[in-house]
Structure formats: C-alpha cells, structure tokens
Symmetry: C2
Subunit: 753 residues, 2 copies
C-alpha cells in the first residue's frame, strides 16, 4: 500500500494498536467495500479514478495546504482545479452514459450525453474532495432546464451547458425569503413589442426591494454567467401568475463582465463551504427574450397571454419534475452516509491509537485505548452503525425514486397521488433526521477526539463545517416535519373514517407499516387527552436482542405519536384557530416525524440485509459481513430506544423495571461490535488523500503527522530569526524593553476615563 498514491504521506509501520485491531477483525472489510461500491470491479475503478486525479502531473489536486490558505486563494485554486478536471476528462474522453434497464433514455435524459455528466462529475469531484465553485451548474441548473424547459429550449441551451459557454446557477432564495417560496418578491414583467420590447416580447426582471435581492445561490457570485431566476410572473395584462423560472444572462460570454442592470457578488465568508462563491444578485430593469421563460408547463405568447400546458402526459411530466427535485434530497441523504462514515473513521481509528488512564489490570501498566471506555463506545459505535443504516436507506430511496420515475415515463397508472405524497413524506422525514443526525454526529466525533479534535489537521473541522449546510438547504430540518405530518395525517383520517378502499392506496407505500397499528389503536382510542398506549410491549429482557421485536416497538411508536398529533389537533380546533392549533402541535409533530424516519432507517437496513442474504453467493457480503452488519442494526435500534426512551415510556411499550435490561442489552451490543469497529471503518475505503486527517491515518501514526501539520503553519514558516514570531518587532519588543509607558500602581480609578 505504501506506493498507492491515495496515501500521499508515506505510510509508516502500522501502529501496533491498529495492527491488533485489524488482525482480530472477525470479517473481511474488502467484501463490504465491494458491496458499498456495487461490485469488485466498481471498487477498482473508483480506486483507479482517484489515483488518476492524485497523480495528475500539475499537482493541483493536492489538499495538503487547505488549512493555511485564505478563502480567496481557496476559491481561485478551486476554480483552477475544476478547469483542470474538465480538461483531464476531455483528454481521456471518459464518461458513462446512463440508460434505463430497457436501454431507453428516460424522459429526463433528453440529452443523455449531458445528463450523464452530473453523475460522473459528482463522482470525480467527490474524489477530488474539495468543493468546486461551478457545482451548482450540474446539480441544479441543468436539471432545471431538463425538467422545466420545453424541447426547443433544451435543444438550444443544453449543448451550451455541456461546452461551458453557459455556466449556470439556480437563483431562488432571496435575502428576506427562504423556505416560504410563495413570498418571493423578484418580478418578471411581460412587455409587448407595442410597449417597446424587442420582437416577440420581452421580460423585465426587477428586484423591487432589498429583501428581494437573490442571496445564497451557489456559483452565482463570481462564476456563473447565467442564472435560472425564480420570479413572480406578471403577464401582459398585469396579472401576477405566481412564481416561474426565467433564464437570465448575468455576464458577457466574451469577457465575463456583468450585463447592464445586473449586480452580483459573493455573499462573504460562511461557517464552511468557502471555496464556493455563494452569491447575491440585484436586477434593475433587466430585459430578456420572451422565450427565456421556462415553457414546458406554462407559456406566455407574444401578446402576453398566460396559459398552462394541459394534457395527461404533461401531468405525468409535472410529477416527474417533482420527483427530480426530490432526488436532490435523496442525494443529500445518501451523501450523509459518507460524511458520517468519514468522521467515524477518523474518530474510531484515533480512539484505537490514543491511550488514556492507567490500566491497573495490565501487566505493563500501559494506558487504556480510549475506544475501550463505555462513553466513547456509546458516542461512536452507534454513529458508525447509523452511517451504514443511512447508506441502505439512501440506496433504497434513490432506487424507489428511479422506479417511480420510470413508471411515470412508461405511463403506468400505479403512481397515484398517494404514492407521490408518500415519497415526499419519506424524503422529508429522512432528509431532516439523517442530516441532523449526521451534522451532530460529525461534531460529536470531533469532540470525541478530545483536544486534538479542535485542530484543523484532524480533518474533522472542515468536514463538519462543509457538511453543516445540509441541515438547512432543500428544506430546513425544523420545517420539514410539518410536511411529513401533513401527509401522514391523511392516512389517520382514512383510518378514522373507516375508508377501507382509500386505505388500499397506502399499500406498498412507506406508510404501509402504520395501517394495521393505526386501525387497532383507533378502535381502542380513549381520546381523553391521555397518551395513546402501544399494543406492543416488551415483556422479557431477552426481547431486547431481537431485531424484529425492536422494529415492532418502533412501528407502534410512530403510530401512537401520530395518532396523538391527530387527536390533539382535532381537539384544539374546537377552542382555537387552525393556525394556533397547528402551531401548538409543532413539537409533537417533530417527535412523530422523527419516529417515522427512525422506523424507515431500521426497516431499510433490515430489508437490505435480508436481500443480500437471499442472494447467497451472488452477494458481495459473506456470512461474517451480514452478521456484523446485523449487529450494527441491533445496536442502532437499542441506541435509539435509549436516546428516545421517553417516547417509548410514554406509549408504555416498556416498563420502568425493564430499563436496566434494555441498557444491559445495549452494553452487550457494544461489546459485540467493539472488535469490528476498525474493520467497519476500513471497509469504507477512504484513502488518506480523502480523509485529510492527521488523526485518521490508515497507519495510525498520528503524532508525527500532527507535528508536521503544525510546522507547516505560516506563523511558524514566516517567523523571522530563530523562530521569533511575526509581530514581535512591532509589538512585544517595545513592551518587554519597557517602552510602553510605566506601571503606576493601582491608585487610578474608573473615573479617570
């Protein structure tokens, strides 16, 4: 491995602690690596691709000095990295065409060659492991053209996107308006030729107030020359038709200078993700052609007449557009697994190497491995398990979205409104819960590294700061639970009204698990304000080691909490406004939405493992690997049971006397997983190049790495004679020499000021 370019700092001898961990790992990490990648071939392709980037003779992809650079340098270097990446890809002529299983491009793949790029781009840029400013071009801008623009528009714009003549961003959020899209203020007003517009009519884009300035869009500040601007459409008769999308040129394609009436800039330093030029934009009477409005689902003609595009195919298409947007959330969920696993890898390897506290039992009086402390295990092992759970769920949700999309394209009628609502609730619940868990988890991994976790060279600081945005983008995690509950409450209504036909629509959805419990609970409902009681109850200590029992508890937990929300809302409607009733229920909604997310994560994990077991030898996973992943599943369920214990006690699904047994089972689950901890990290196959961490190195040789990073700091590099620091000559010298006034005792008082 010492010649593997993915390990840039020459690996030294593997630390004795890590060597011991690895030799006692009860499974083969590489089998899990293959499973995560999809196949052994995919693993070696990924490794080759990463090596190829690292070996690039320009050396530009090195991340060694990230920690010491000012954000201006990071941004400009990231631009250079990006252009070099394009150059590399073009010279190698690589890419991969994505087609559906029947060999046809799917509806969104009108330009398959271009659409393939985002996926390839995502892979390549994730391997380069440094955010690249034009990211939003592929992630938001091109998908928007593909879903909302008509065929003619796509034919004109997509080749320009592919050739980077057009570098785009997606400009929705405004300075004063985030989650509530209906409140956006930017206007696009139609002007007919008779009103002085160019032939065919024009739109005039305006930012009427300071709060309407676009603010936050990635790539907008300095990089993009076009923006897909979300604005209120004012038609030829002056009627406000609500928000629509408009392709607005921002900068000259010739010299990148701002076009008349456009002002953009970077929004300034953020907690993380500072390579990116998130931007602001102000529009003052900017004129664009009529056909720069995205016209797939609505049109405006030369006379300024607004019309919705009708027809069955387009209804499906509008669902597809919706599904496409949800895929962004699904990608966020899926990528959370990787971010959390990186943090766990760093913290767990370090905890295996770091020693603290005397071991009175040991013959050589050595200190304990930090990983052997129960608190450290309680902090790290469930997070490690969660990183796998999120992988399974992310994979499942992406597959389901793809399936729904394909069904819609093929015109199958199975995709009902309930199915679309269901996947909306699922992605909302999982996005909110998985990203909160991941953001908090990364930070906890950082804290679990003690003092050294504060060092930027730990790799955890930038990992955390870059990830944090995921809690807020694509639906703030605090807002999403309402959307989840909104959908789930409709199921409760159907159950309450005994509408069995309607319930059939809920079969095969992610809400299916709630039907049976809800029917039983509604039958028994007291509706006197006391919490709904679970119909499943732990009755013996042994049940805590049984995953199917644990899943039943989580199933009833969602059902009970959800029914309580429904009843609370129904009851308070009688005494206050719907708005007030809803507001007073928000905290209960969060709990119920969290319960839904937990159940889905555990269920997908369990089902995913079952699928692999059924594949037999066709699975990348052998018996030992499914066994260790099953231990992860069990530990995670027990951990959540303990963490959210009040939910389970409230629904009386376990009694107080069983709590110590549940906690013993948790300790046992940690003991079982302990020997596999390092192996489960190794299985993710994050190279040292990607981890960028002195603490998480594969070889465990952390201390020389920390000192090396320290010595590279400009404060040390730029010292003058004999290590004297910057600022000594200007400041300290005079003070020490006694030249900065004289100490006059303590007779003075505040009144002298």
């Amino acid at each position: 491995m010492s010649e593997d370019p993915r390990y840039p700092t020459p690996l030294r001898t593997i630390s004795a602690d890590l060597a011991a961990e690895r030799s006692s790992t009860p499974f083969t990490p590489l089998h899990i690596t293959h499973f995560l990648d999809g196949s052994p071939t995919a693993t070696s392709q990924r490794r080759r691709l990463e090596s190829w980037i690292i070996r690039d003779p320009t050396g530009i992809f090195s991340n060694e000095n990230n920690a010491y650079m000012h954000r201006t340098e990071r941004h400009t270097r990231a631009l250079a990295k990006f252009v070099r990446l394009i150059e590399l890809c073009r010279s190698a002529g690589i890419g991969s065409k994505q087609t559906t299983s029947d060999g046809q491009s799917s509806i969104q793949h009108l330009e398959g060659e271009i659409v393939s790029s985002p996926e390839f781009y995502t892979l390549v840029s994730s391997l380069a492991d440094d955010p690249l400013p034009p990211s939003l071009h592929w992630v938001m801008f091109v998908p928007n053209i593909l879903t909302l623009c008509d065929a003619e528009q796509q034919a004109e714009w997509l080749p320009l996107c592919r050739d980077w003549k057009m570098i785009g961003c997606y400009a929705q959020t405004e300075l004063g308006h985030g989650s509530n899209i209906r409140a956006l203020e930017t206007t696009a007003t139609f002007l007919k030729e008779s009103e002085g517009a160019k032939k065919g009519g024009e739109w005039m884009i305006n930012s009427p107030t300071l709060t309407s300035w676009k603010f936050w869009p990635g790539t907008l500040g300095k990089t993009a020359n076009h923006a897909m601007v979300i604005a209120r459409l004012i038609d030829g008769s002056g009627v406000d038709r609500g928000i629509h999308n408009f392709l607005v040129p921002l900068r000259s394609v010739e010299d990148h200078s701002l076009l008349p009436g456009v002002e953009t800039g970077d929004i300034g330093p953020k907690i993380g993700y500072n390579n990116m030029d998130n931007g602001y934009a102000k529009f003052e009477g900017v004129r664009i052609p009529r056909r720069n409005m995205a016209m797939r689902f609505a049109t405006v003609n030369e006379e300024g007449v607004y019309e919705k595009v009708a027809g069955g195919a387009d209804e499906a298409a509008s669902k597809v557009a919706y599904i496409t947007m949800m895929q962004v959330r699904a990608y966020i969920i899926h990528s959370s697994s990787e971010a959390l696993a990186m943090a766990c890898t760093i913290a767990i390897r370090y905890s295996a190497v770091r020693r603290q506290g005397y071991n009175a039992d040991s013959p050589d009086k050595s200190e304990f491995q930090v990983l052997d402390y129960r608190q450290q295990q309680y902090r790290l092992l469930p997070l490690l398990a969660a990183s796998y759970a999120i992988f399974f769920t992310g994979k499942h949700v992406l597959a389901r979205l793809k399936h729904i999309e394909n069904q819609l394209v093929s015109g199958a009628s199975t995709i009902t409104k309930v199915v679309v609502a269901d996947i909306h609730a699922t992605t909302s619940a999982l996005k909110s819960y998985a990203t909160t868990l991941t953001a908090d988890g990364i930070e906890d991994c950082r804290k679990a590294c003690g003092g050294h976790g504060f060092l930027v060279c730990s790799g955890l600081v930038e990992l955390s700061n870059t990830y944090l945005q995921s809690c807020t983008v694509e639906g703030d995690n605090q807002m999403l639970p309402q959307q989840v509950i909104n959908v789930l409450l409709k199921l409760v209504e159907k159950v309450q009204s005994g509408d069995d036909d309607a319930l059939k629509d809920y079969e095969q959805t992610d809400m299916e698990y709630l039907i049976e419990p809800l029917i039983k609970l509604v039958e028994n409902a007291a509706d006197n304000g006391t919490p709904t009681k679970s119909l499943f109850c732990f009755s013996s200590p042994g049940q805590f080691a049984d995953t199917s029992m644990l899943l039943q508890a989580f199933q009833y937990r969602t059902a009970c909490l959800l029914l309580d929300v429904a009843m609370q809302l129904q009851n308070s409607m009688e005494t206050c406004t719907p708005q007030q009733a809803w507001n007073d229920c928000l905290l209960a909604m969060s709990r119920a939405a969290r319960a839904h997310a937990c159940f889905l994560l555990l269920r997908d994990f369990a089902n995913g493992l079952k699928d692999e077991q059924q594949k037999g030898s066709a699975s990348c996973l052998g018996k030992e690997e499914t066994a260790v992943l099953s231990q992860c599943l069990c530990l995670l369920a027990l951990y959540w049971l303990d963490q959210h214990l009040s939910d389970f006690l409230q629904i009386q699904c376990l009694s107080a006397t069983l709590i110590p047994h549940m906690r013993s089972a948790l300790l046992e689950a940690m003991t079982s997983l302990r020997p596999s901890a390092v192996g489960l990290c190794d299985a993710r196959d994050f190279s040292d190049f990607r981890l960028k961490s002195a603490l998480g190195r594969y070889d465990g040789d952390v201390y020389p790495a920390i000192i090396k990073a320290a010595k590279n700091d400009p404060l040390n590099q730029q010292s003058s004679n004999g290590g004297v620091g910057l600022g000594y000559d200007e400041s300290l010298k005079n003070l020490i020499a006694g030249g900065v006034g004289e100490y006059k005792g303590v007779s003075g008082t505040m009144s002298r000021l």
Copy 2:
C-alpha cells in the same frame, strides 16, 4: 443612543418589530442590567470603559474586518491590540486593588497590585472582545507562581511579570497526554555541582519522546518567553518524585530568540481561538537553576534531597492552591452565561425581525415573526432562561470559593475534607453541564437563524468556534462526571452505613439536598436491579407550574439515579473487576452527574431570586423583574423535565398520563415569557461593538448590514474590471472560449485511465 460609540455602525430607525417588542416589554431591562453588573454605578463604569477602548484614536480595536483576515494577520494584530491596551491602562493609571472584606489582602494576594490586574485585564479584554495572545500570562502563569512558589520566588518573579519582562504560559498538556496528568513524560532531572551543574545545582529539562512534547498551551508558541513547565521530578538519587512545576526560560528577554535546547512553535489552525498562539515545545537538555522549581510545598536542596513542606498552615495553603485551580473552572462557568446570552440576543432579535410563513389571520397578509413559532420558542427561550440560571450559579460558586478561601486563610476549622470534595464535585458537575449546554446552545442559536446563521457576519460562527474549547479545557466534559460521582458515592456509603455523625459533615454542602431523600430511599431500597422509585410524585396538572414541586422532582431524580449507580457498582463488583464495573457504570454516572448539575442550577436560581426579594428596595430588581426571572426559572425546569423525561419516567416521578399536562404547562410557560424575550436580551446590554453581528443589531436593521458585510469580502473588493472575479483570467476564460480540450461524447470508459 446614536452617538454612543458602542454602536459603531450608525443605528438606523429601530425596526417596527423590535420597537413593538420593546414597548410591550412588561419590565424594565435596565434594572436587570444593573443587577447583572452589581449596581447602576458599575453599569456606567463598564459602559465608559468600553467606550474608552472603542474611541481609542489608533482605531486598532475595531473588529469590523475580523471575518476577512487570515489568521496570521489576526494574531499579529491581536498582539498589537494587547500592547496598546497595556499602554492605555498605564497612561490612565487605572486598575483596582482587590482586598478581602476585612481590608487585608488574602493569602494569594501576596502582591495585591499584580493580582488585581488579572481581574481588570479580564474585564478590559472581554470588552475589547477579541482574544489576546498573552491571556494565559494572567489566567494561569501568574496564579501558578502565587500558589505554588515560595515568598522569595514570588518576590523575585512577580515584579517581572507585572512589567512584562517575563511573559509566561502554563505548559502542562503533552502531545500524547491530556486529562491523565499522571502519565506526563517530560522530565526534570536534578544535577549536583559535582555532576557538572552550576553552583547550587541545576535541573535538566528533557522531552524524552515525541508524545512528551508540550502541546496546546496558550501563549507558548510565539509570545511567551517563560513557561511554567509541569514535569516529573527526578531527584538527586534518581528517584521519580512525580509531577512538579518548573519555571523554564524559553526565549531571550533581549531579542526573543529561542534559548539553547528549546524548540517552540504554533500548533497550527484550530476550529476557533485562532488569534492565540497555542504552542508546542520540545526540551533537549535545557538547564535551569535549582531554585526555578516551585518550592512552596516541596523543596530539593543542593544535594538533591527531596522534601515535602509540612505543617498545618501549609496544609491549609495546599487547599487554597486547590481552591485557586477550581476558580478557573468557576470562571469558565460564569463566562458561559455571557457567551450563551450573546448567542440568544442575536438569535432572538433576529427571530423577532425575520418573518416567514403567511398569517392567514392577519388583515395585511403579512408573514409571521419567526419567534412566534413554537419550535423556535422551544429552541430559544429555554436557552435564554439557562443563560440567566448560569449567571446565578456562577455568581454563587465564585462567592462560595471566595468564602472557603477566606475561611482557610483565617484558619477556621470549618473547611473539612468534605467541603473541599463538595466544591470539587460542584465545579466539576457544573463545568461539564454548563459548558456542554452553552456550546450546544450557541450552535442551536446559529441553526435557529436559518441560512443567515451560516454567515460569519451573523456573529455566531466566531462566537461558537471560540467558545467550543470550554468543553475540553480544565477537565474534558466527558471525564468530569466520574469525578462528581466519586464524591457523591461517599455520601451514599455514609447513608447506607447509617453513619449519622459523618452525615453532619455534609450539612451546608451542595450535597445536603441529597441526604434526606437518600436516607428514605435506602430504607426502601429493593436492590433487585429495578430502578429506584422516587418518593416524590406529581399528582395533579397544576403542580407543573409550581417551582417548589419541580425542584422536589429534580431533587429525587439525582438521589434515585445516584443510588442506582451505587447499587449497580456494588452488585457488579461481585462478578467482575472494579475497573470493569466502573466502566460499565460510566453512562449511568453521566446521567447522575447531569442531574446533580441541573438541581444546583435550579436551586441557585431560586435562591438568588429569593435573596433579591428579601432585599426589598435595596435590590436592583423590582417586582416586575423578579417576576420575569421567576418565569425563566419555571420554564427552564419544565424544559429540562421534558428534555430528560426518561429519567423522570424511570424513577416514576410522573406517570405517562401526566405527560400531556406537563407539555401544556411548558407551552404556557413559553407563552408567558414570549413578550419578555427581547427585553431579557436587551437587559444584558451587549453593544453592537461586542456582538459583531449583522443579525443581532440593536436596531434590527439586519438586511442592509448583511449586504454591507458581503460587499466587504476580498472576493468582491479584489475583483478586476466590472466585478469579474479573481481566477477568471487564469481559469474560466479559456474554458468558456473552448480552449480546454474538446467534448468527445461518452464513448470513453474507466479503462482508459
């Protein structure tokens, strides 16, 4: 207020939202300000002092560009700020001499004039609101000389400290050793004259391994010319006498160059606190005089003979030394209140101004104030209440430490071992809980500001990153619970053994509240592994609004959880090693220690308010102010009851059926406090200069402030023609022009790499 220099950006008209909040505030914020400062005079002194710093004609104290500076610039400018501060203080001849109530300097105030400086320094530097590199000189180095060095040593070194000839730091932590001080590896080996040492003997300081390099000490990297080094003392006979303190010169007082055998440097960028030159140091055969060992409690003579200093007075003195160290923790607790209150001020003012979501009930269809959402209230109001609770507790703990110190100095016998252990448990529990709560709370305030909370100009990013270290310094928050429980378990033992005499020692301690419940619980203890049941139980909904009932619940919670720990330990000793038994109990210990901290915080809050009420008109607080602070207390108790509900359900102090009533009481408590939220922030009297926040401005005019901050970013400032970004010429230009290779379709495959 518009001419107040503490509000550097000219205040615009107060936003209508904040004006409305202020006009409906049901109490006088300024009264609380006076109370927090100590008196109306103290308030005006503080304001004058702050204005004086801000108005300094050099303008060096401006923090306007902090966000855009590289850490090297921040460090060197902070050095310059520090020297200017000294110059200002000297020229004004200000300071304040601290004496005890009887007019005598206390034992630690051997050099009252110097000791007074840290407190003044703390105040001044907190008002300058930018960490200053030599901070550790006053915070750790000088106190160490005062507590551990003998009179002769103090007489020699303290004047040098005062005159900044000697700039010191405290070098304890090593690269491989943090919390476990016994494992430190640095050695100080005694050399007699006969062994080639200078007259009187010398110490040779060595870093025998890489893991023994000093690492982390603040001020060590570049600023300090002396360090108090903690090292293993090897006496003249070669016997290891454990860790002792040694004053080691690091740099020449003439030209600041490193002395022979010493290597120091900065440890590199950290998550925050980057003005500071936290440092590393390696010692290679560094010789220092024999008398550079701190000799108050132990001596080594010229022959290398080690001797402990004995005697009653010195036993008290050693307790004083211990108390002094605990005062550092108490300061950390106390300063947490301010940090958390700053974050709350920013988030709450912004939440009052930020609007989101349509209000169907409102006539003008305006959006809601974000602060009216229940989730936002649940996030922010308890934190606001906690910031006040921590203030009361911090004040109480500091006063108690001072009282104990004074008693020790005056030779009173009331300061028993139990008292010292008690204050140790209290500071450990509170430091761990209050700093965790504050760190998480600041981050939650940041997230509660949605997207704009990610901006560095929110003020929350640096506030959070600077604060985070508090969770790890002076005892890692994960380690401290063991120390708490260690002390508390001794009380349980006394109760279990029925030793009534011994229990008398626990009266008047912070553990007193546990005696009675423990006696009753031990009498009833089942000891069959089921959780201990509380003897207090909520029986009616009305009790949740009664603070004394809530306090009883918290009282029994600690007692039950503590007794469970004791019994679990006792039971598992039978089947496993003490080490294993202890390890398996760590999670339960955390819960019990948290319970202890919560009770103390609530009790001190309640007692503090009672004291003010008893003072009558002598108190700064009027009826309205104590009323609103009582609402804070009640809300906080209910919030913790909800947050830690599983503890209370486990001890059966409330039944599941009462949960909805508890939550209704919580909603009502939030409703009651809602009109006071902005007023309680204003009462902290943080100027705009100190908050450094576009979102938390006093005038609420946030959006222009955000744009102004954005435009100041170097990425915008350094743009070339027409706002074209840096990096365009080098990178994008060629790409857009088509000069970076050609798109060759998707025929390529991975195999081309």
